[in-house]
């Protein structure tokens, strides 16, 4: 999570729609079609190379010029991969870490955000500034002490190590605070008159009204957990808690790995498919989240 992007988030909300008028029309029809083909080609081709390589048999990998379409196509690299890596377990690890982490991060961020947006207490601004300040620290500063902390908590190679340190996101708190501030207070006051306490207001009014922002945070939190590499690299080395990116990177470490590209690409397909599918399903939230979070991906 990058600090400066959060500043932008204050005035960006909702999703980006295509330009409604002709103002943006800058290319002619032929140019446009050529442009569309070029963009799709450049963006998708590497993924096709990944897919195609994963479907080749070992003996067709080292060919010049490379085969574009695998002939014969085979799934043997996937079955070979399943022998090297405990695939069901690794996929489960990735999914469990990402889902639990996302859910936890949303709840914790929302509760903190509520305290900043709706409760009034002395020192609130100072504590909030402290939250903002932590967003300026580069991730690598945290990696070493978090590694040491996880180690002294006895969490090495456990799900806790993968999930818990990421739950406390100053950025998530910040994002949701902005969303909560945008909700008119009248709603709550009506509920208060009916005798509701803050918790009821939080669950029954604030949260349902903030669903778009919660979804945005959710999508990005999920992506962050699913794709994370630098931190899990050092706290989750054992196969029973290893996540997909780590397992995938270890495929490249073996003595013959540099020619087993079909295997590596099969692993890449398995790692990337769920997140691509999630993206295509949640594109709307992704777009707004990308703009406000500044995550590189």
């Amino acid at each position: 999570m990058r600090p400066n992007n959060a500043l932008l988030a204050t005035n960006l909300s909702g999703t980006v729609q295509p330009a409604a008028s002709a103002r943006g029309q800058i290319t002619g029809r032929v140019d446009r079609l050529a442009g569309m083909a070029l963009i799709i080609g450049l963006m998708v081709l590497p993924f096709l190379v990944m897919l195609s390589t994963s479907l080749k048999a070992q003996e067709y990998i080292l060919q010049t010029p490379p085969q574009l379409i695998p002939n014969p196509a085979t799934l043997e690299s996937y079955s070979e991969l399943a022998e090297r890596i405990d695939l069901p377990r690794t996929i489960f690890n990735s999914a469990f870490v990402a889902i639990a982490g996302t859910a936890g991060q949303i709840v914790i961020s929302a509760m903190s955000a509520y305290a900043f947006a709706r409760l009034e207490w002395p020192g609130r601004n100072i504590v909030f500034l402290l939250y903002l300040a932590t967003m300026m620290i580069p991730a690598v500063v945290l990696v070493i002490p978090q590694f040491i902390l996880v180690r002294s908590l006895g969490w090495m190679n456990s799900y806790s190590a993968l999930i818990v340190p990421g739950l406390f996101s100053a950025f998530g708190t910040f994002l949701l605070r902005q969303a909560f501030l945008a909700i008119p207070k009248d709603f709550e006051e009506a509920a208060y008159v009916d005798g509701a306490n803050p918790f009821v207001i939080f669950w029954r009014i604030i949260m349902p009204l903030s669903l778009p922002s919660l979804a945005t945070l959710g999508v990005f939190s999920f992506m962050g957990y699913w794709n994370n590499y630098l931190y899990p690299l050092f706290v989750a080395r054992k196969e029973d808690v290893m996540t997909l990116p780590i397992a995938l990177a270890t495929l490249q470490a073996g003595p013959r790995s540099l020619t087993e590209w079909n295997l590596v690409m099969a692993g890449a397909v398995i790692t990337v498919l769920p997140i691509l599918a999630a993206y295509l399903l949640a594109q709307r939230w992704f777009v707004s989240g990308a703009i406000s979070s500044g995550i590189k991906g």
């Binding site: 639990a100 090495m156 190679n157 806790s160």
Partner: protein, 407 residues
């Protein structure tokens, strides 16, 4: 709906926060780099024998490639999550022993233990036996006899020096565009060994107060190593494009390869005739003496079981037999009957070269900041290979870096 969501979430978080399930007290974890990927089944055979002899102890294997192994081990030891028993090579043994990461195994070694005295000494620190020698291995000159025949040159002999090898390599290289003469990697380990073949070059002075890696003898050694590539007898890394040297050899496109005897097993699949010879000399013969030890973590909860496994792995008859039969390095035991069985296997026909090689052993230079030394030397060697630096310049810089590391 939100309440259910909250409960579910909290449950998830709670579940995740539970520390890893308590370990079975009789399970010991063994971390190894030498077993994967070719000898995992052989390791399983040894484990099965051990578990049968020691009911109630289960050995759990963790493996990593050599390139990653020490980073992972370091992280594990540092995190207090060290494997109970792990493999250590001689170079890294010193660091771990000096930092108190190893359990003293002195009590485990009885007077009649069948270890090679030299190997046993290698794993002593401050007079204590901090690890047991398990295996040793060396590096030889492997050659593709069919290519030698085609080129009409005679096979390598024990009397060869590198000039003979280069002459043969030139003839083999002439066989075809994609046929290479020889491959001898340019990296830290090869360099200190070739330094031994030169005889005059050593990385440090005897008192270990200063690096002498830029001495004329070292420069000329490095120039010899680089000349193979400059003379186009040996493919560059890019020409290999990720194909390993052993794969190139297996594909029948390489005349001579300098590599370890642990490749015997993998080369059984070769579709051509091949054999080994001791390495050519520069001024004298010199060969690697790689000793791998088995150490027990100082923090193990199951010291007895762990030590029993370490001893079984190092010196049991089963372990020795399995290693010999599967050509998975040599047990560091002073018992000729194992070696006789080893020698009987072919290919390679000239297996005796393994023992000839061990008559001229060199051990690596070892300092406490070993990894930094290796990385620094390797980076400079690649610059010399690429011609960015001359051998002299590269080694002058190496001297400066090594001097800083031993301060």
């Amino acid at each position: 709906m939100f309440r259910r969501f909250l409960l579910l979430t909290l449950l998830c978080v709670l579940l995740a926060a539970l520390p890893a399930a308590a370990q079975d007290t009789t399970t010991i974890r063994y971390f190894t780099f030498s077993a994967a990927p070719d000898h995992l089944e052989d390791l399983d055979t040894i484990i099965a024998a051990f578990q049968e002899a020691n009911p109630g102890i289960t050995v759990e294997v963790e493996t990593a490639a050599f390139a990653d192994y020490f980073t992972l081990l370091q992280a594990g030891v540092a995190s207090g999550d060290a494997p109970d028993v792990f493999e250590l090579n001689y170079e890294n043994f010193v660091t771990y022993a000096a930092n108190g990461a190893l359990l003293d195994l002195s009590g485990m070694v009885s007077a009649e233990a069948p270890f090679y005295p030299r190997a046993l000494e290698a794993f002593q620190y401050d007079g204590k036996q901090m690890a047991l020698p398990a295996t040793f291995s060396t590096v030889l000159l492997f050659y593709n006899a069919d290519l030698f025949d085609q080129a009409g040159v005679s096979y390598p002999t024990a009397e060869w020096n590198w000039a003979d090898a280069v002459a043969a390599a030139q003839s083999i290289r002439a066989l075809g565009e994609d046929t290479w003469g020889l491959f001898s990697p340019v990296q830290f380990w090869e360099f200190y060994k070739k330094a031994g073949q030169n005889g005059e070059c050593s990385f440090f002075n005897a008192e270990m107060t200063e690096s002498t890696i830029n001495s004329p003898a070292c420069v000329s050694t490095l120039e010899t190593m680089i000349s193979f590539m400059n003379d186009d007898l040996m493919p560059t890394a890019a020409e290999l494009s990720g194909v390993s040297d052993s794969e190139l050899f297996l594909s029948g496109k390489l005349g001579m390869l300098v590599t370890g005897i642990w490749m015997f097993g993998a080369f059984q699949d070769a579709t051509f005739n091949w054999d080994v010879q001791i390495e050519p000399a520069i001024n004298q013969n010199a060969h690697h003496f790689f000793a791998n030890g088995v150490a027990v973590s100082a923090t193990t909860q199951n010291a007895e079981a762990a030590a029993a496994w370490a001893e079984f792995m190092a010196s049991s008859e089963t372990a020795a037999t399995v290693r010999v039969e599967s050509a998975w390095e040599l047990p560091a035991l002073n018992q000729p009957e194992y070696f006789e069985a080893y020698l009987e296997q072919t290919p390679p026909a000239n297996r005796a070269a393994v023992f000839m090689a061990l008559e001229s052993p060199v051990t690596p230079p070892v300092i406490e900041r070993q990894n930094e030394m290796q990385d620094a030397v390797n980076a400079l060697l690649t610059q010399a290979v690429d011609g960015e630096l001359t051998a002299q310049e590269a080694l002058d810089q190496a001297k400066a870096e090594l001097d800083a590391l031993i301060q």
